[in-house]
Amino acid sequence: MHYTPLPYLDPGSGSFLLQLAIAALLGLGVAIRASWGRIKGWFGVKTKPEDDDAESQDE
């Protein structure tokens, strides 16, 4: 694919290619976490909803 526009900082070819190489794995991780949450939901286990404004750097 074609990347536009070119960034003002050099992202580094290696850094780009590494991300592309692990993209599938990372995406899979997110999908598994999401479906695990749903499976737990069927058994009545509540998962914390992702709420923007409650999220905080104070953890």
Partner: protein, 462 residues
């Protein structure tokens, strides 16, 4: 403050990004937003992202103003960001501060993605502590997110945050000083080499540092466009989540270091301690400074006394454990007017970066209105052999008012310093100290601290 800006008022730390730059006019700080950044600025403001980030304390608030731009040809508009009381550099932060700055950057990126925006840089210098919280100060750091593309700031994030945090937590906490040498963050091949080999069994560090370093070596200079592949939004979220998990796993807790428990092993009594507090409180109220620098602050007990009335205190110490303790306490108490920082007074932060003007030196960010130098003079004069007149000159350059404690040779702390060396300091007595400091200061008060042999002075620069 020499060389702080260029002809049109543009600040030397702000020249890389074509989206805009900082400039100063009549003592006020502005940011010019360029036309090239119109779409991105509109998305930031109109999507609600700006408001959300400001509300969460993650982004510096600004107002749009009618100020004449510094370079009108390129200009879209001028904004006036809230002024940060004191600009600090990542190598002056404790472990916890760098970790919070990293997590703030990632939290911003996650929220930005939801509004179809993405951070185009992840520089630690873009984060400052405002009201005690790690806050992004560069309003122009956002670009439009284009699904399929990897994160352009990934390399910078790993170099500025993940690598130094991992080195501090797993190799040695003092390795944050590498950031002073490497202004664009710790090179990943160096981090990979310095980290213990067990980190290869940690998925996050294996990927983001070790494999990342390998990929950089292998594909250096190769054209990315010609390669196929794409990164879905889900993968991008996975990447950010993985970075968050990697950062969160890293921890460093100070153990019994030289200073960590200083106040427990100190030689003064409760009465002396309370007397010092009373004097600092009374003199701070009398002077009413806006900015206080507490040099040799330890975990910040006296910084807190000085800051009781709400003025801003920067609390410097040489010991990473003391600074960490100080920061954790301030975070716990939500103390917004205290900034703990790491500083070696015998070798303070120099000006670094392009033309030595990008990041200001310790002295360049002054002077303060009031400097506290409590229980520090003996370390500088005796341990570091700095003659008293030079010390007086140094302190005169850092602030107008000075509260300084003279610790005589008969004091057990000084005796310890002299125990293993020759006493080559004949003038290090109260009279010698006063004579030296009178060249640069007017002594307003000299009070003997109760139940101790120490003297506390209030001086004003002449």
């Amino acid at each position: 403050m020499p060389n702080r800006k260029t002809n049109n008022g543009q600040l030397p730390a702000s020249f890389r990004d074509p989206s805009g730059f900082l400039f100063s006019q009549g003592g006020t700080l502005y940011r010019q937003v360029n036309r090239a950044y119109e779409q991105e600025y509109a998305r930031l403001m109109d999507s609600g992202l700006y408001e959300k980030l400001v509300k969460a304390g993650l982004l510096i608030p600004h107002v749009e103003v009618e100020q004449e731009p510094a370079e009108s040809e390129a200009a879209l508009r001028v904004i006036q960001p809230e002024r940060v009381p004191f600009i600090s550099h990542p190598y002056e932060w404790s472990f916890g501060q760098l970790k919070d700055a990293a997590l703030a950057t990632l939290a911003i990126q996650k929220r930005a993605l939801k509004q179809d925006m993405s951070l185009k840089d992840a520089s630690a210098y873009n984060i400052q502590f405002v009201r005690g919280k790690a806050t992004l100060i560069d309003t122009l750091s956002f670009e439009l997110y284009k699904e399929g593309e990897p994160w352009v700031a990934y390399r910078q994030f790993c170099q500025h945050f993940l690598a130094p945090l991992a080195l501090m937590a797993l190799t040695d906490v003092r390795l944050n000083q590498l950031l002073r040498v490497y202004i664009d963050g710790v090179p990943l091949d160096l981090a990979s080499e310095l980290l213990p080999s067990k980190t290869r069994f940690n998925f996050g560090l294996l990927t983001h540092i070790h494999l990342h370093a390998g990929a950089q070596r292998r594909y250096s200079g190769e054209e990315v466009k010609s390669r196929r592949g794409s990164m879905s939004r889900q993968a991008m979220i996975g990447l950010i989540d993985s970075l968050i998990a990697s950062v969160q796993k890293l921890d460093w807790t100070p153990r019994g270091t030289e200073w960590g428990n200083y106040y427990d092993i100190t030689n003064y009594s409760d009465a002396a301690f309370e007397h010092k507090k009373e004097l600092v409180r009374a003199w701070t109220e009398r002077i009413q400074p806006a900015l206080v620098w507490d040099l040799g602050a330890n975990n910040g007990i006296f910084s807190r006394v000085a800051g009781e009335s709400g003025l801003y205190v920067v609390s410097f110490d040489i010991d990473p454990a003391a600074v960490e303790q100080n920061y954790r306490q301030a975070k716990k108490d939500k103390t917004g007017n205290l900034l703990p920082l790491l500083l070696d007074l015998t070798n303070p932060s120099p000006a670094i970066g392009w033309a030595n003007r990008e990041r200001e030196s310790f002295g360049g960010r002054g002077p303060a209105d009031l400097v506290l130098a409590l229980a520090v003079i003996h370390h500088l004069a005796i341990s570091n052999n700095v003659p008293l007149p030079q010390l007086a000159e140094f302190f005169a350059g850092t602030g107008r008012w000075l509260v300084i404690e003279f610790v005589p040779k008969s004091d057990s702390q000084v005796k310890k310093l002299l125990a293993s060396r020759k006493d080559i300091f004949p003038t290090y007595v109260r009279e010698g100290f006063e004579t030296a400091f009178k060249r640069n200061f007017k002594i307003h008060e000299a009070v003997e601290v109760r139940e101790s042999e120490r003297v506390l002075y209030l001086m004003e620069r002449v």
